[in-house]
């Protein structure tokens, strides 16, 4: 388990890379040195009326420079993410991390791995693509506007699906998989619940081991408050009920472990 800290991090760079999508680099030796792909950090607002963490996945980990890249969507006016979007280089932001388990890269080693990301679930797949020692194929699903897709090309084949058909397959990531007849030994995925549900079914059908990254509302982010549970198929060993904590036991789960 990686060592967690809460630090006031300095913003290195911030860029708007799509409508309401921001790419933020922060300096944080400690968290960067502990982090693995699929983990996340909690970002905190300066505004004292907004107290809860904003969990954001690690999009890139630069352990050498001690930096993390976070790619996030501004969800509306007056939100915490809007506050973050105004950060300039040199500004600071409180960050807690690294949190959660990350993708089990060992399970993919040397195999054919399919990385599927949908919408704002795409960012964590970038560092995962980079660190997976495997034959990587990335399938990225968007509503319309593409982002980050070019950056995946360094790490494997990249396919794209768009809901409006403006790029790649018209449809979702599974439409691409079928259209392109993409085979896999292992699947890693992150995205909206309906997408994860479909991928879980697909993986079951094709008997492919599949790990998915889940989302839930959080308060502590460290496993203490039991706010962020998802239903597990087995009695979990922390709570001895059918609940797992997304923030601590996840966010990455074997798809058959959890109810979706």
């Amino acid at each position: 388990m990686s060592k967690k800290t809460k630090e006031i991090c300095t913003v290195v760079d911030q860029e708007c890379i799509g409508t309401d999508i921001y790419s933020l680099w922060i300096q944080t030796e400690e968290i960067a040195s502990e982090a693995v792909p699929g983990q996340f950090v909690s970002l905190y607002c300066k505004d004292q009326s907004k107290l809860l963490p904003r969990p954001i996945s690690l999009c890139q980990i630069d352990r050498e420079k001690g930096r993390l890249r976070l790619v996030y969507r501004v969800t509306g006016q007056g939100t915490g993410t809007e506050e973050f979007s105004r950060l300039q280089p040199g500004d600071t932001i409180p960050v807690l991390g690294p949190l959660g388990n990350g993708f089990p890269l060992g399970e993919a080693k040397g195999k054919k791995v399919l990385l599927m990301g949908g919408g704002i679930g795409i960012p964590p797949m970038l560092q995962t693509a980079k660190e997976t020692e495997a034959d990587v194929t990335a399938v990225l699903g968007y509503r319309d506007q593409l982002f980050l897709d070019k950056e995946f090309q360094d790490y494997g084949k990249v396919y794209v699906a768009t809901e409006d058909g403006s790029a790649g397959t018209k449809g979702n990531v599974l439409d691409t998989v079928r259209e392109e007849q993409l085979a896999a030994d292992v699947i890693f995925a992150c995205g909206p619940k309906p997408m994860l549900r479909a991928i879980k079914a697909y993986a079951l059908e094709h008997q492919i081991p599949c790990w998915i990254s889940m989302e839930e509302r959080m308060a502590c982010g460290v496993g203490a408050c039991l706010g962020c549970v998802c239903q597990s198929t087995e009695v979990d060993d922390h709570s001895h009920v059918h609940n797992k904590r997304v923030c601590k036991d996840g966010p990455v789960f074997l798809s058959t472990e959890v109810e979706l």
């Binding site: 800290t5 004292q48 009326s49 809860l52 982010g221 408050c225 706010g227 709570s239």
Partner: protein
């Protein structure tokens, strides 16, 4: 020599800072951030006689200056708790206070009886959780029921009993007196204020449970008022909580009449909160040349 010790029903805490039940697990998660040895006491998440699955998600949501939760007292049950959580906490030099929940008087008594032979320092009886249908808050909103359950629990308790009061009442002094009359050794307050949030775009409740318990800095003025009123209504000591995030907040509760304080929601936005508050109280005492916390407890009349 500054003395930060306080005594609750014969149990001496090295400082008045405790964790608030349900916000700190059984200590292991936050032990990655703070040295539990430096806390006055760790108060555990509520534990019942059997495992409880809790409520469906979403269970938590943010509000202005606070949050709502409807965890629904998910817990692994007293057996796992005694096997796993108590031994973990025994590794530390801090007091162990077990928060107890139940659906019926029997539920509570069963847990209390089971804990009689365990190395725990105090029991906190949660009769004020707004997030479960039966039990919970029902006992905490009716003085007669509160007095009765206090009496029953005391029959089985080997350790001093803290009754944890709900702020969702007309007159907190009536409840405080009922707990005292029932034989409570200490009272603690406030538990959460019942609240609701609606997602207007999806036209649903923000929490699956519809209502949740409000906590965090937003509730502090209500908490301070109730602690002040309760402390003036009873002779037993009072543990104050509700929105404490800084040493100044904690001192506010002490001055209102609390002998000790609990830190809850603040852990979520500052995992170092408990220790920083303990240290901040000490710094305040040094600066203001306060030798003993007794000098400021209840000093504002």
């Amino acid at each position: 020599m500054i003395n930060t010790k306080v005594t609750l029903a014969g149990v001496e805490l090295k400082n008045p800072v405790m964790t608030a039940s349900g916000t700190f697990g059984s200590g292991s998660e936050y032990s990655e951030f703070v040295d539990l040895n430096k806390l006055g006491a760790v108060v555990t998440k509520g534990v019942a006689n059997v495992p409880w699955p809790g409520n469906p998600v979403p269970r938590v949501t943010e509000t202005c200056g606070g949050m709502l939760n409807a965890i629904g007292l998910q817990n692994p049950g007293i057996d796992v708790f005694c096997e796993r959580d108590i031994p973990f906490l025994k590794n530390y030099d801090t007091k162990i206070i077990v928060n107890v929940c139940g659906r019926s008087v029997e539920d509570y008594c069963q847990v209390v009886e089971r804990l009689a032979s365990e190395p725990v320092d105090m029991l906190e009886i949660n009769v004020s959780c707004p997030n479960v249908k039966e039990g919970g808050i029902a006992f905490g909103q009716d003085p007669k029921a509160l007095e009765a359950i206090t009496k029953e629990v005391k029959k089985y308790a080997a350790q001093p009993v803290i009754m944890k009061l709900s702020p969702n009442v007309t007159d907190i002094t009536v409840m405080a007196k009922a707990a005292e009359a029932g034989g409570a050794d200490v009272i603690s307050l406030i538990n959460t204020l019942t609240g609701m949030k609606i997602d207007i775009n999806r036209r649903t409740f923000a929490l699956a449970n519809k209502t949740g318990g409000m906590s965090g800095p937003a509730v502090k003025p209500v908490a301070v008022r109730m602690v002040y009123q309760a402390a003036h209504a009873v002779k037993i000591p009072v543990i104050g909580m509700g929105g404490i995030a800084t040493a100044e907040d904690a001192i506010e509760f002490l001055m209102a009449g609390a002998t000790a304080v609990s830190v809850g929601t603040a852990n979520f936005f500052n995992p170092y909160a408990t220790i920083q508050i303990a240290e901040g109280i000490q710094a305040f005492m040094e600066k203001q040349k306060i030798q003993d916390l007794g000098e400021i407890i209840g000093c504002v009349e």
